[in-house]
Structures are given as C-alpha cells and as structure tokens.
Amino acid sequence: MPLLEIKNLTKKYNADTLALSDVNLTINEGEFVSVIGPSGAGKSTLLRCINRMIEASSGYILFDGVNVSTLSKNELRNLRTKIGMIFQHYNLVDRLSVIENILHGRLGYKNTFEGIFGIYNEEEKKSAFKIIEILGLKEQVYKRCDQLSGGQKQRVGIGRALIQKPRLMLCDEPIASLDPNASKIIMDHLRNISSKMGITCLVNLHQVNVALKYSDRIIGINSSKVVFDGAPSEMTSDIVYSIYGSEAEELDIDIGGRNAS
C-alpha cells in the first residue's frame, strides 16, 4: 500500500535555481527510505514539499490518497499532525524543559486556547513519559534543553515527533551534527520506530555507509533529479559515482560494509 505518491514534482525557487525537476516516487507504508545526494541536490526541498513547509511549483503529492497541494489551512494542519519532522539542528525551544518540548508535538491536535497555555491531559502526559523512557531520557525530563548534549537534543526531537503518533517521519540530516556514537544511537532509534511501530521513515543522509546499513531502500538525487531508486544491495560504486559525481572519491565509501549491522 503506497503511503506517499509523488508525481512530476518540480520546485523552482527562482528563474535559475531548479531544486527539483519532475520527481516521481512511491513510498510504501512502513518502509525505511534514505535519500542521499551531494549538497544542493534538492534533498531538503523534497522533504519540505511533502508537508508543504515549501510550496511545490508543479506536480502533486498524495499522502494516504489525499492530494496534499489542494488542502485548506485547517486540513493542512491536520495533515501535518500525521507527519513528524526531525531537523539537523534539532529545532527545540531551548529554554523549555525536555517534557515541555516533547509535549509540543501535541499542539497540532489542540484548540487554540489549550495550545496557548500548554494544557495537556493525563493521557498525553503518560504517553510523553513512555516515549521519554523509550528514548532513554528519564534523567533529563525536567532539564532545560540548552543543557543537553547534541545526541540528547536529537532524541527530544524524535520524542516530539513520536508523540504526534505520526504515520510518516521526515528526517532532514538527523545525524549531520553528531559524533559517531550519538549518530548510531539516533539511527538505531529511527530504525526501531520504523520496524517496531510501523512508522514510515524518509531520511536525508550525507553518509552513504549509514544509508546502506539502515535502509530498506535508497533514493539517490543529483542536481534536482532522482538518479537512483533501489535496495541497498543494488548499490554499486558506479551508482555512487553517478549520484555524487566527482565528489564520490572524497566520500571513501565501503560498499561492502552494508551487511555490518
């Protein structure tokens, strides 16, 4: 069952920056899909068109059979509650505590009044604590987020997305600012979310090795076009070269490493 269908998606920022040209993709429920490609290829743009943080120029996106581009303001809010988003720089409210930041994921379900004053019911709080436990943040519950390490901040980001009870997670370079250890923890959590909770994950990555290790499927983008779409086992060094062009040599990718997990 396709959860996401992208048809002829094109995004032009201005006359001479074509960020996406005629992208066609189908993503199935529960899949863990990585998007790789050189800097400026259009990975972030692709992710942000899906939840309409960026408006596409043409083409359309079906999420669970619903055309995203024609939604009204309220319908769009509703759609966004079903799509969690993870950012490279975590995008937390640094001065608030872990629990407050995680509960922010519920705002989309609330009326204006409850949302403004941050009124959450027992069930929401319980589920927040459960998520905090899963993510190993129990000791940090009431800590302000500016006192956390990068890896902990990213886990709060994941928590905020999880409490939305999303069907799709859009992750824009979730480990680009983290050291290898913290990166592994975050990727393991994302993989778990996909395997155990059945949430579809679409993850932009810079590291081909990580993509090979964790994904069910890899999409390669080069200068606004999809140039590869297949399983990690189909990846060859020629394909890496076609995705990254001359940058490929500097990446030092070990294709054989994909079975290391």
């Binding site: 509650t81 950012f87 409210v93 922010h104 989309g108 609330k110 949302g115």
Partner: protein, 261 residues
C-alpha cells in the same frame, strides 16, 4: 578577484576619510568655530564648575522639592516604556520574518516603527508642544513614540534570532499561529525582550531629563528653574541625583538581566 576586493576596500576607505576631513574643515569655516579656543574653554569651564557647580548645605535644603520631581520623571520613564513595549509586541510579530502574517503588513509595521524611531526625541517633543503645550503629556508621548519605534526594531531582531528554528518545527507539527507564538516565540525571546525594555527605561530616564527642560516638567524643570535663577549649587544637586538614579537603574537592570537569562 580576492586582491580586487582588498584594493576596492582601501579605495573606499580613502574616499570616506577624505570626505569626512573635508566636511569637518568646511563646517569649522562655516560656523567660525575656533578649535583652539574650544579646547581651552573646556579647561576654563572645569575651573568654573569646581568653584560654583557643587551642592552646598543651602542646596541640600531644596532636596524635598527636587525628589518629587525626580520621582515624576522616573515613573514617567517607566510607564512610557511599558506602554511602548505592549504596543510594540503586535508590530514586532507582524514585522518579524518568523511570525509575519504577510509581507505587506510586515513592511508597513516596520515602516511605522522606523518613522517613530528615527525622528529624534527632541523633535517629537517640539512637535507635541504645539498640541499639548508644556505639560507632562508632551514629555510622556515623546518618550512613548521613540521607545515604541526602538522596541519594535529590537523585538523583531530578538524574535528572528531566537525562535526561527523552533517555529519551523512547531509549524511542521501542525501547531497554529497563536500556539507557535505562545509556545515557541515568546518563551525563547522573552528574556532578551525584557532586557531591551530595561535598557529603554535607562535611556528614557536620561532623555526625560532633557525633554523635561523643554516641556517644563519633572526633574528637567527643577534644573531649568535653579539654573535660570543662577542657583548653581541647587542645579548641580539636580544633576547629581540624576546621575545617581541612572547608575542605580543600570545596576538594578544588570542584576535582573543576570537572573533571567
């Protein structure tokens, strides 16, 4: 290419300083300002000040007259600032890149703020003198207008700086406009906004003294009164208490800043 930039910068600097020098010389000639006399008279003024401009016992007897005036000035500075802060918030929200509703409203609100900010406070006081005469209202409004213009600008910059990323995250999770403002923008920006308000109170106490001379109210009026009647000892007492108050306010606001940030 690199070398060009440096050469251009050197040329720009040369032109700038030559122009500055020319303008200085021209204005000295036009105003018939005698540079040598200007500097020597500073010395004479200092001698005069030591001889006459100090509070003596007779001046201290005026203190009960001065203190209520001082209180009036302080209260006026504080209340004009707080009102300006309240009015600034909606304008700042419309003007900020993060929280703007649309570009037209944003430009209009920034333009209004810029007009209020760039007309100097003394000009405002003179204009208002026509409508309100020599009254507390004139001084109050003059302080209010400039504080308003300044705070809108300061708040816009604070909001842009502190909340861009968290606003993106909350919007992506389906939170509404007002929810985002109250849950992300204000918690992130509040400490710096309060800090700007305290700073504005400080500057307003200084400006209120000056404006008071024009409008015949507050501590500025006391100064003018004693100065015109050549009671230099009492006038110097006025200056002294103003300086003490400015230092005290700065001390208090630094303390508050340390606590909230």
């Amino acid at each position: 290419m690199q070398a060009d930039i440096f050469a251009k910068r050197r040329k720009d600097n040369l032109i700038f300083f030559s122009l500055l020098g020319l303008i200085t010389i021209a204005s000295i000639i036009v105003t018939e300002y005698d540079v040598v006399k200007g500097f020597t008279s500073v010395f004479k003024a200092a001698v005069w000040a030591v001889a006459n401009f100090y509070p003596n016992a007779k001046a201290m007897a005026k203190l009960p007259d001065i203190l209520p005036k001082l209180q009036e000035t302080i209260l006026m500075s504080i209340s004009s600032t707080t009102f300006a802060a309240i009015f600034s918030i909606p304008f700042a929200l419309f003007g900020s890149k993060v929280t703007k509703i649309n570009n037209i409203l944003g430009s209009v609100s920034r333009l209004i703020a810029s007009i209020f900010r760039n007309v100097p406070i003394v000009a405002w006081a003179m204009v208002l003198l026509f409508s309100f005469g020599q009254s507390a209202m004139t001084g109050y409004l003059a302080l209010f207008f400039t504080s308003f213009g300044f705070l809108v600008r300061a708040f816009i910059e604070t909001m842009d700086e502190t909340s861009t990323s968290s606003v993106e995250a909350l919007r992506a999770s389906g939170a509404s406009y007002l929810q985002t403002i109250f849950q992300a923008v204000l918690p992130s920006a509040a400490p710096q906004m309060i800090s700007w308000v305290l700073y504005t109170i400080e500057t307003n106490i200084r400006s209120a003294t000056l404006v008071g001379i024009l409008t015949g109210t507050g501590i500025g009026f006391s100064f003018e009164l004693y100065y015109k009647s050549m009671n230099y000892n009492a006038a110097s007492l006025v200056v002294l208490v103003v300086v003490i108050v400015v230092f005290a306010v700065e001390f208090i606001s630094n303390y508050v800043r340390r606590v909230i940030i």
